[in-house]
């Protein structure tokens, strides 16, 4: 029991963040909050990849005398790319929000819909 709770606590954090981010994206009508939710959701995946790369008892993957077990550096490298993608997504999303605010004078989803239907 303690093994599943404490031994895998990284994964619990990942699941908690993932569900929280996902819930914010679905439930909130404010576009900025949606972007934040999306960010939390993506971050949980970054954490997941880094967790996957950890080898228990392993050290940082730098060849040095006296160390034999190293953590897997590949997931960290992959996630560096994914972080860049995340940043790009956020910037595109935010610039869209700015343009939406200019066009509709609101960033609430239901108000935007109401304006579109009124016309």
């Amino acid at each position: 029991m303690t093994e599943t709770v404490l031994g895998l606590y990284n994964y619990w954090v990942v699941i908690f963040l993932m569900m929280m981010g996902f819930y914010i994206v679905i439930s909130r009508g404010n576009l900025i909050k949606k972007v934040i939710g999306l960010n939390i959701f993506q971050s949980s995946v970054f954490l997941f990849y880094i967790t996957v790369g950890k080898v228990s008892g392993g050290t940082a993957p730098i060849v040095e005398e006296g160390f034999e077990v190293y953590s897997n550096p590949l997931p960290s490298v992959l996630i560096l790319t994914a972080i860049v993608v995340g940043v790009a997504t956020t910037s595109v999303a935010l610039s869209l929000v700015v343009r939406i605010r200019e066009a509709y004078e609101t960033i609430e989803e239901d108000e935007i819909q109401a304006q579109d239907e009124a016309r």
Binding site: L38, V45, F48, L96, R99
Partner: protein
């Protein structure tokens, strides 16, 4: 062509548009940028023609990026299916951009044309990259390259509704891509490799483990979101309806098709037929969704006033046909699905191009404004009608070939009901296509239609080339269904 260049073709396929994209920003001048980008697209198309020739002649091409050997380095892998997808994506990209200048002038401010070209080329790069790569993580990266540029492209649309549409697409697209990323991560955790062929070899040992099953689930949902499989299609209609005409034509013809390709790759090449379809019953899950998508989306399409929106709903239905073919998981079914990828890309690309011609002259694509437009623009609307016949699946059009294979596949599996449903669904397509034809040709001209003139030749010719090709491929199927058959067999055989 020299040996040296021929050996580098797989990487050139992606690198040419990738490097050309930032060059567009440097060139900047409108009179230079558009011809440059168009030339690049045609060059990319030429590369894909040579690649397909090589693959059909010599079998699978494997290219080691940067000289790093396969399971460690990134491998580009071109088989019949990949080459087929590369060919039509690059071909349509080139044709749409050749068609585009007049429409661009009308819909996007001239000061932004260089940015449009940059985004367009990046989108092409992403789509081609997905098709060519043999590395799982690379798929995700290219997926995001194409997706991010298409969000921005859609937001270029003239009406403000384009902005929320692009935002909604961004949110759903990012969720889909992140799901795919989670799936890839879980698979990496189980096998320790990212190379598709390598993973296909290692997966059978761990397929019973729950992690692999969860990975499969995440991937299926993520890809379904990306390809707009009913009921995950809600982002698509607005995005296609409010994007600039040129963007609608290109994205509608290629983006969702490439996502269907990802589904084929993951489910057949990586997980393998036996695991996906026999153990987990993916076919049983996909078939009802595909059929529901065909009927619901076709029915909704009938009630649309905006013709671009109608075509978008029709796209959701057509994705249903492709997925239906895949869900049979037989050679005939897959051939039907894959050939429909190609045929529908031609048909929908051509139809959206014809709508772009209408948009140029009428500044509207509402049915009310399009009343009687067939008299003012006979060539445009005749092309539209030709494409519409293809959507319905009338014999001697490309759409017929797809449906022929699909119905055959259904009969092979003794599911008479599916075959009958397929025929019935064509009637729904008949209704929404006929509504437009009737309005355009037999109604009294609207105020806008009275003042309209025929679209310029520079737009009519590419539209007719694409829609003429649907008739050509409805009669000569050597290079559509023939290649699709080879691709289907290669997919069923799986990776070595």
């Amino acid at each position: 062509m020299s040996e040296a260049i021929q050996a580098q073709l797989p990487v050139l396929q992606v690198v040419i548009p990738l490097l050309a994209a930032p060059l567009c920003i440097i060139l900047r001048r409108r009179s230079l940028v558009l011809p440059f980008a168009t030339g690049v697209c045609w060059l990319t198309f030429l590369v894909s023609v040579f690649l397909l020739g090589d693959v059909l002649e010599a079998g699978v091409i494997s290219y080691e990026l940067g000289g790093w050997a396969a399971p460690w380095g990134i491998e580009y892998r071109v088989d019949a299916l990949a080459a087929f997808v590369l060919l039509f994506v690059s071909g349509i990209a080139a044709l749409v951009l050749t068609w585009a200048p007049r429409s661009l002038n009308d819909e996007i401010p001239a000061s932004r044309h260089y940015l449009f070209c940059t985004l367009y080329l990046l989108c092409v790069t992403g789509l081609l990259g997905i098709a060519i790569t043999g590395d799982l993580f690379n798929v995700f990266v290219f997926l995001e390259v194409s997706a991010l540029s298409s969000y921005a492209l859609i937001a270029l649309g003239g009406r403000r509704q384009a902005l929320p549409a692009a935002f909604q697409y961004l949110v759903m697209g990012t969720i889909g891509a992140t799901f795919i990323l989670i799936g890839i991560g879980l698979m990496y955790q189980m096998t320790g490799t990212l190379n598709m062929a390598d993973m296909a070899g290692r997966l059978p040992a761990v397929e019973g483990v729950r992690t692999a099953l969860v990975a499969f689930g995440f991937l299926t949902v993520g890809i379904a979101l990306k390809m707009a499989l009913f009921p995950l299609h809600v982002w698509l209609p607005n995005a296609y309806a409010y994007a600039p005409s040129v963007v609608s034509a290109f994205i509608a013809a290629t983006a969702t098709k490439v996502s269907v390709y990802i589904l084929l790759r993951f489910m057949f090449s990586v997980f393998g037929l036996e695991f996906s379809f026999e153990q987990l019953g993916l076919g049983r899950a996909l078939m009802p969704l595909a059929l529901a998508g065909i009927f619901v989306a076709s029915t909704v399409a009938i009630f649309q006033r905006n013709v671009k929106r109608m075509l978008a709903y029709s796209s959701v239905a057509q994705i249903g046909y492709m997925v239906l073919g895949i869900s049979f998981a037989t050679a005939t079914g897959l051939t039907g699905g894959i050939v429909h990828l190609f045929n529908h890309a031609l048909i929908k690309g051509g139809l959206f191009m014809a709508m772009g011609c209408v948009m140029l002259q009428l500044h509207s694509v509402d049915l009310d404004d399009m009343a009687g437009v067939g008299r003012a623009m006979p060539w445009t609307m005749a092309a539209w009608a030709l494409g519409g016949l293809g959507l319905i699946g009338v014999p001697a059009t490309a759409g017929f070939i797809s449906k022929w294979y699909l119905i055959q596949a259904a009969l092979e599996r003794n599911s008479l009901i599916v075959a009958v449903l397929l025929l019935l669904s064509s009637l729904l397509a008949l209704v929404y296509v006929w509504r437009v034809i009737e309005t355009a040709f037999f109604h009294e001209p609207s105020a806008r239609a009275r003042e309209a003139r025929e679209a310029p030749l520079s737009m009519l010719v590419p539209t007719w080339v694409l829609l003429g090709a649907t008739v050509l491929f409805g009669i000569y199927t050597r290079y559509s269904a023939g290649v699709a058959e080879q691709a289907a067999e290669a997919v069923l055989r799986g990776l070595p």
